[in-house]
Every structure is written in structure tokens, then in C-alpha cells.
């Protein structure tokens, strides 16, 4: 089967992501920003697919585009949009912002020009048929599963956060 990871799709998805990201910070209406963010997140899922990581793409759609963005919209819809639209947009940290962006851009360019040895020669193809099973083996396999402990610790951390949120939100349990 021919690879779908062609430059055309990469540039299309990247352009969608960048335009979506710019719209997120320039729209005054918070719901429009949220919808631009959803577009950017879906384009990101497409890029994960191009990297032969369908499991990560699926989780990206379920968690970010499906779950978290619904909660975002849920909160945003309760804000009075008329007032936020009238408010002036301001940015007092533009100098620091430009410096940070220039530093990051310089780093990228430096890595791209000097760090040829970091990147694999030519196009690497992975077997996409077994991605989910490979991720599971990496996490839980008896012999090669090295990340099980850190994975479980991370889920414990999330549990603590959930319980903490409930305790803080409810005065009487």
C-alpha cells in the first residue's frame, strides 16, 4: 500500500493548525476561539496519523476534541459574550513574547541545519497494523514493559486531582 504520509498532507495539516492557532488568540469571541482550537486539534490528530501513530490520533480525538473541548464550551457559554466582545484586546508583554518566539525559532533552525545526524536517513516506514498492541506492550509487557510504574503513578496523580477538586468545590461532603 502506498504511504499516505505525503508532503501535500503534511503542509495542508500544518497550515490548518497554524491558521487555527492564530485564530484562537485573535478572535474576540471566546466560542469562535474554541472552535478554531478544535480545528487545530483535529489537524494535529491528522499529523499523528501521518506519523503512523493511529492510537495517539484516536486518543487525541476522544480526549481533546471530544472531551476537553466540550467542557471548555460548557464554561464559555455561561460567560456574557456581549461584554467580552466590547473589551479592548491588549498585550503588554509583546517585547518578551517576540524575544521568546525568536529564541525558539532560532533553536529550530539550528537543529535543522546543524543536527542532521539527529534525523534518520530517508523516509522511515512503520508497520501501522500493530500500533495499539505495540503501545500496550511498551506499557505492560512483562519483559519489555518499562513504563508501567510511571503510567500508574500518573493516573494516581489524576485521581488525587479529581478528589481535590471535589473537596474544594463541595463545602459539605
Amino acid at each position: 500500500m502506498n504511504p499516505v504520509a505525503t508532503p501535500f498532507f503534511f503542509y495542508l495539516l500544518s497550515a490548518t493548525m497554524i491558521i487555527g492557532g492564530i485564530l484562537v488568540i485573535t478572535r474576540k469571541n471566546a466560542v469562535h476561539s474554541a472552535m478554531a482550537l478544535i480545528t487545530a486539534l483535529l489537524a494535529q490528530a491528522g499529523i499523528y496519523l501521518m506519523l503512523y501513530a493511529p492510537f495517539v490520533a484516536g486518543v487525541q480525538i476522544i480526549l481533546y476534541a471530544g472531551g476537553i473541548m466540550v467542557l471548555f464550551l460548557f464554561v464559555i457559554m455561561l460567560i456574557s459574550i456581549e461584554r467580552t466582545v466590547k473589551e479592548r484586546q491588549f498585550n503588554k508583554q509583546w517585547l518578551v513574547g517576540i524575544a521568546a518566539a525568536a529564541a525558539l525559532g532560532g533553536l529550530f533552525i539550528a537543529v535543522y541545519t546543524k543536527g542532521k545526524s539527529l534525523f534518520p536517513e530517508g523516509r522511515v516506514t512503520y508497520g501501522e497494523g500493530q500500533n495499539v498492541q505495540d503501545v500496550a506492550a511498551l506499557l505492560y509487557d512483562q519483559h519489555q514493559g518499562t513504563y508501567m510504574f510511571s503510567f500508574e503513578i500518573a493516573s494516581l496523580l489524576l485521581l488525587v486531582a479529581i478528589i481535590g477538586a471535589v473537596v474544594m468545590a463541595k463545602k459539605r461532603i
Binding site: 500500500m1 502506498n2 469571541n29 466560542v31 469562535h32 472552535m35 478544535i38 493511529p54 492510537f55 490520533a57 484516536g58 486518543v59 480525538i61 476522544i62 476534541a65 471530544g66 472531551g67 473541548m69 466540550v70 467542557l71 464550551l73 460548557f74 457559554m77 501501522e128 497494523g129 500493530q130 500500533n131 495499539v132 498492541q133
Partner: protein
């Protein structure tokens, strides 16, 4: 002409989905076939729902447009297309315009991975079930934005209810699905699968539908999913986002004409989509019933005659009702029309007895028959159950379905772990 027939026959004898074969042409044909089939199914559901609800309430239902109201859906569609398309003055125009399309896209895209048969799917993904759950969960975004963009009270409340409800029931639904994924890993290699075709093949290899696996664990998981899927599609008794006694029409109060019909289309195709997930995961997908008790070539032949018999029966029903039509000159056209419809159905039934056709549509028929049973259940729920109150809905989701799902998952994993040792032990003892 010869090469065309050769090409089609060469494809029909291959054992791959068009997506796996990387064949653009057949993929397009499959996409069009699924789209047309789905549209016909939605139209048929529209008529059936009105007729069945009417008969449950001892009414006749639509009777005027065509014989027994058969042309009513077409009349409805025409009315919706000709209706004035109103947008509220204070609505957010762009979001109001996009929202119905998000819902329709999400509802139709999931059919890319629905397996109508071992080779009859547009494609088979490694992440099949994950893709279906993820994309169908995107439809809530459309509902929420539709409710917000209308800039009106009832739609906003409907949208808030819908987002809370769908996010809550997704959790229980996911736990029930994971218990099935655990069951697929009970083979020699101990490797499970998320692929829709792989899940059905696992049921075939284990000689049982997952609804009967580890009785009653499979049944409990199926029950959790069956409840959660009704809530996910916003249907009675969980239709709070569009509760007409409280919210007029909920999130689509301000929609009219073509845009409203898009919501309608999306609702029904989402119902078909979640039903096909349930059929694939628990009811053996395209596999015919009783593969163990009634096996052998004779029974295979008997079951392969079912599609033809079904269509012949429908045709016979049409002829019977055409004969019962009033013998008045005004009913002449209707009688002829109904008889003609019956003749078409009977002809399809006869074609389906030809061995070449019989072998290729058997799996599609059984899949469609199981999904149709779910669609009837949906109508039955709507005809019989009173609507939940919102706090009761949340209670069912978080306090009953979620803990049950967690216990079910742990018990399923335990049962899968202990299955082989217990069998070994029993061999020693007996």
C-alpha cells in the same frame, strides 16, 4: 465490456476491504453505496417510526400520501426543502451555519469502519472502535454550538443538558466497550484487537457471541451499552436536550427547513451507528444466529435462504394489503402502486435466491437485521417509557452505570485470567 465484468468478478472474489487493498475506485463505490443505503434507511425509519408509534397508540398514522402513507417521507422532505429558512436576528451567523454540518459529518464519518461483512466495509482500521467512539463524540460539539449560536434561552439550556449528558454517559459506555476488548484478547497469543472486523472474527474464533461470554458478565456489559447508547443519541427516555414539554424543541428550536432536516438526518444515522457498534461488539456482527447448535451444510443452506424469504414475505404483505384496499375508483392508483411495490420487493426476493447473490448478501442481511431490531427497540422505548428527570438521569449515569461498569471490567479481566487454570484444574479433578 468483457474487461469490466472480469474486473468486477476479480474484485468480488478477493477477500479484502477496499481500504486494505488501497483501491480508490472500489472505496468510492463503497462510500456511495453506504451513503445511499443510509439515506434510504433514514427515510424508512421516518415512516416506520410514525406507523409503529401510531399502532402502539391505537391510531392509524399517515394514511393519505401514497398507500398506507408510504410516500409520506418524500412529502416531508419536499416540505422541509421548500420551507423558509429562518435565522434569528441576534444569532451568531457563522456558528449557526456550521453547527448542523458538524453533526451530520460526525454521524456519517463513523460508517467508514462499520463492518457489514468480512469484506463489506469501506476500510478496516487498527483503531476501529476507538475511531467510532471518538468521531461520534464530536457530534456533541455540533449540538452545543447549535444551542449557543441560536442566542435564545431554550436552545442554550438544551445544549447545556446535552453536553452534560453525553459526557457522563460516554464514561460508562467506554467501560462496557473495554470489557469487550478484554474478551477479544482471550486467544493463544493473548493479544486483543480494536479493529471492528477483528472483534467479530474473535467472536467467531471463540465460538460465542460476547453477549453470552462469561454469563452474565457479557450480558451486563451489553445492558450498560444499550442504556448509554440511548442517552448518547438523545432519544427517549433520555431526550432531555429536546424535551418538548420543557424546552419547546431544545437545541434545534430556532432551526427550520433544510438545516433542521440535517439535524434529523444526523440523529437517525447516529442511532444506526451506535446500534451497529452494539451489534459488532456483542451480537456477532455479520455472523448468522445459532452457529454452534445448528451447524453443517444443510443449516448453512437454510439460513442463506432467509434474505430471499424476508423480501418475499414483505412482497406478499404488500399484495395482501393491496387486495384489502377499498374497491372505490379513487383508490385505484393507490392499489396499483402498492401491488407494484410488492412486485418489486418479491422480485428482489427472487434474485436473492440465486446462489451467487445468496452467498454475497448473507452477511449484510444478518448485520442489517440485527441493527433493525435495535431500531425497533428505539421506537418501542419512545412509545412506552416516560422521560427521566435531569437529576435522575445523572444519578443513573454516575451512581449506577459507572460503578457497575468498573466492577464488570475487573470481573471480566479476572474471569479471562482464571478461565484456563480452572479448566485445567477441573480436568485433574474429574
Amino acid at each position: 465490456m468483457r474487461w469490466l465484468i472480469d474486473y468486477i468478478q476479480g474484485y468480488l472474489s478477493s477477500n479484502q476491504t477496499p481500504g486494505a487493498a488501497g483501491n480508490w475506485f472500489w472505496a468510492t463505490v463503497y462510500v456511495l453505496l453506504v451513503f445511499v443505503g443510509l439515506s434510504i434507511a433514514v427515510i424508512a425509519m421516518n415512516w416506520l417510526e410514525r406507523k409503529i408509534l401510531a399502532h402502539m397508540q391505537v391510531r392509524l398514522g399517515p394514511m393519505r400520501v401514497g398507500p398506507h402513507g408510504l410516500l409520506q417521507p418524500i412529502a416531508d422532505a419536499l416540505k422541509l426543502l421548500l420551507k423558509e429558512d429562518i435565522m434569528p436576528a441576534e444569532a451568531d451567523a457563522v456558528v449557526f451555519w456550521i453547527a448542523p454540518f458538524i453533526v451530520v459529518l460526525a454521524a456519517f464519518t463513523v460508517f467508514v469502519v462499520v463492518p457489514f461483512g468480512p469484506t463489506h466495509a469501506i476500510t478496516d482500521m487498527n483503531i476501529g472502535i476507538l475511531f467510532m467512539l471518538g468521531v461520534s463524540s464530536l457530534s456533541v460539539l455540533g449540538i452545543v454550538t447549535a444551542g449557543w449560536a441560536s442566542n435564545s434561552h431554550y436552545p442554550l439550556i438544551g445544549a447545556l443538558r446535552s453536553s452534560a449528558q453525553m459526557v457522563s454517559y460516554e464514561v460508562a459506555m467506554g467501560l462496557a466497550v473495554v470489557s469487550v476488548i478484554v474478551m477479544t484478547s482471550l486467544n493463544a497469543e493473548g493479544t486483543g484487537t480494536l479493529s471492528m472486523i477483528g472483534i467479530v472474527q474473535a467472536q467467531q474464533a471463540q465460538h460465542t457471541w460476547f453477549v453470552f461470554k462469561f454469563f452474565p458478565l457479557g450480558l451486563v456489559g451489553f445492558f450498560i451499552f444499550a442504556v448509554a447508547m440511548v442517552a448518547e443519541t438523545n432519544r427517549a427516555p433520555f431526550d432531555l436536550p429536546e424535551a418538548e414539554s420543557e424546552l419547546t424543541a431544545g437545541f434545534h428550536t430556532e432551526y427550520s427547513g433544510f438545516r433542521w432536516s440535517l439535524f434529523f438526518l444526523a440523529e437517525y444515522s447516529a442511532m444506526i451507528a451506535v446500534s451497529s457498534i452494539a451489534v459488532t461488539l456483542w451480537l456477532g456482527g455479520w455472523l448468522r444466529p445459532f452457529p454452534n447448535a445448528l451447524n453443517g451444510p444443510t443449516w448453512d443452506l437454510v439460513f442463506s435462504l432467509f434474505p430471499g424469504i424476508t423480501f418475499l414475505f414483505l412482497g406478499a404483505m404488500c399484495f395482501y394489503n393491496a387486495a384489502r384496499m377499498p374497491k372505490h375508483p379513487l383508490f385505484k392508483i393507490q392499489t396499483i402502486g402498492l401491488a407494484g411495490f410488492g412486485a418489486v420487493l418479491a422480485l428482489i426476493g427472487l434474485v436473492l435466491f440465486v446462489p451467487a447473490a445468496r452467498d454475497r448478501v448473507g452477511d449484510i442481511f444478518w448485520f442489517a437485521a440485527k441493527v433493525a431490531a435495535f431500531m425497533y427497540l428505539y421506537i418501542w422505548y419512545r412509545g412506552t417509557f416516560p422521560r427521566y428527570r435531569f437529576d435522575q438521569l445523572m444519578k443513573v449515569g454516575w451512581k449506577i452505570l459507572l460503578p457497575t461498569g468498573l466492577v464488570l471490567l475487573i470481573l471480566t479481566a479476572g474471569a479471562g485470567f482464571l478461565e484456563d487454570p480452572v479448566k485445567e484444574w477441573l480436568k485433574h479433578v474429574l
